[in-house]
């Protein structure tokens, strides 16, 4: 399948996702991947937890649309997006984006493009839970600005 999108509670395995990108696909010599994970955002105030909420249905549609836009823009083989929801501890992976192509820059650019659009368009919301209470993570202006280069 050229495009695969998953929104899931379960952890994903980067090695397995890579294997899926490559399986039976020896035409593409290039595979680029991006993984976003939970930082120690409250380092010093104790370990925090993240809770990821999403808009079921719309999320999958938006991610699928972003993957298709990337495929229209670059010559890509496969595109894979996996995004986790629910509770996440520091160090845990949140999002996997992978793309294969004949040319390395196409695969890398596609990952950057998908992440930039995902950050500003896919309906996910993060809440941090720490010893000091909980708060919704604020959207960053830099994520909105990142879209301007595309």
């Amino acid at each position: 399948m050229a495009v695969s999108v998953a929104v899931q509670l379960e952890a994903f395995d980067v090695g397995a996702e890579y294997a899926r990108l490559r399986e039976g696909n020896t035409r593409d010599g290039a595979a680029a991947m991006f993984v976003g994970s939970v930082r120690d955002f409250n380092l010093g105030t104790g370990v925090s937890r993240l809770e990821l909420e999403h808009y079921p249905g719309m999320t999958e549609r938006v991610l699928g649309d972003i993957a298709e836009q990337a495929r229209q823009r670059w010559q890509l083989g496969r595109v894979c997006i996996v995004h986790r929801i629910g509770p996440l501890d520091p160090g845990e992976d949140i999002v996997f984006v992978g793309a294969t192509a004949e040319h390395r820059q196409a695969a890398l650019d596609a990952c950057a493009f998908i992440m930039d659009w995902l950050k500003s368009r896919a309906p996910f919301w993060k809440k941090e839970r720490g010893p000091g209470g909980e708060r919704w993570v604020e959207a960053r202006e830099s994520d909105q600005e990142a879209l301007e280069k595309w």
């Binding site: 976003g36 990821l52 909420e53 999403h54 808009y55 249905g57 719309m58 549609r61 995004h83 949140i94 999002v95 992440m115 995902l118 950050k119 500003s120 368009r121 896919a122 309906p123 996910f124 919301w125 993060k126 809440k127 919704w136 993570v137 604020e138 959207a139």
Partner: protein, 82 residues
């Protein structure tokens, strides 16, 4: 009827994840937002937030987007995934 969903911080502020609104007299998402504001001050204040985003049938929409019976509308803060 129009199905209306609220997410994240907005859902918490309103203490409401979803409700149904009679589509009578509503032409746009702006009309819907105003009608929801009639539910009280917390609603009016929360829905007046300029950064609020709207989706119509799971596509991003604007206050001017036309709305009709059977639609699914969502209001939510700027997204923070990835």
């Amino acid at each position: 009827m129009i199905r209306v969903l609220f997410f994240a911080g907005l859902r918490e502020k309103l203490d409401c994840a979803a409700l149904e609104v009679d589509s009578g007299g509503l032409e746009t998402l702006a009309d819907l937002r105003e009608k929801l504001g009639e539910r009280g001050d917390p609603w009016r204040r929360a829905l007046a937030d300029a950064s609020l985003q709207m989706a119509l049938n799971q596509h991003l929409a604007t206050a001017a987007s036309p709305v009709a019976a059977g639609d699914e509308v969502a209001f939510f803060p700027p997204v923070t995934g990835g």
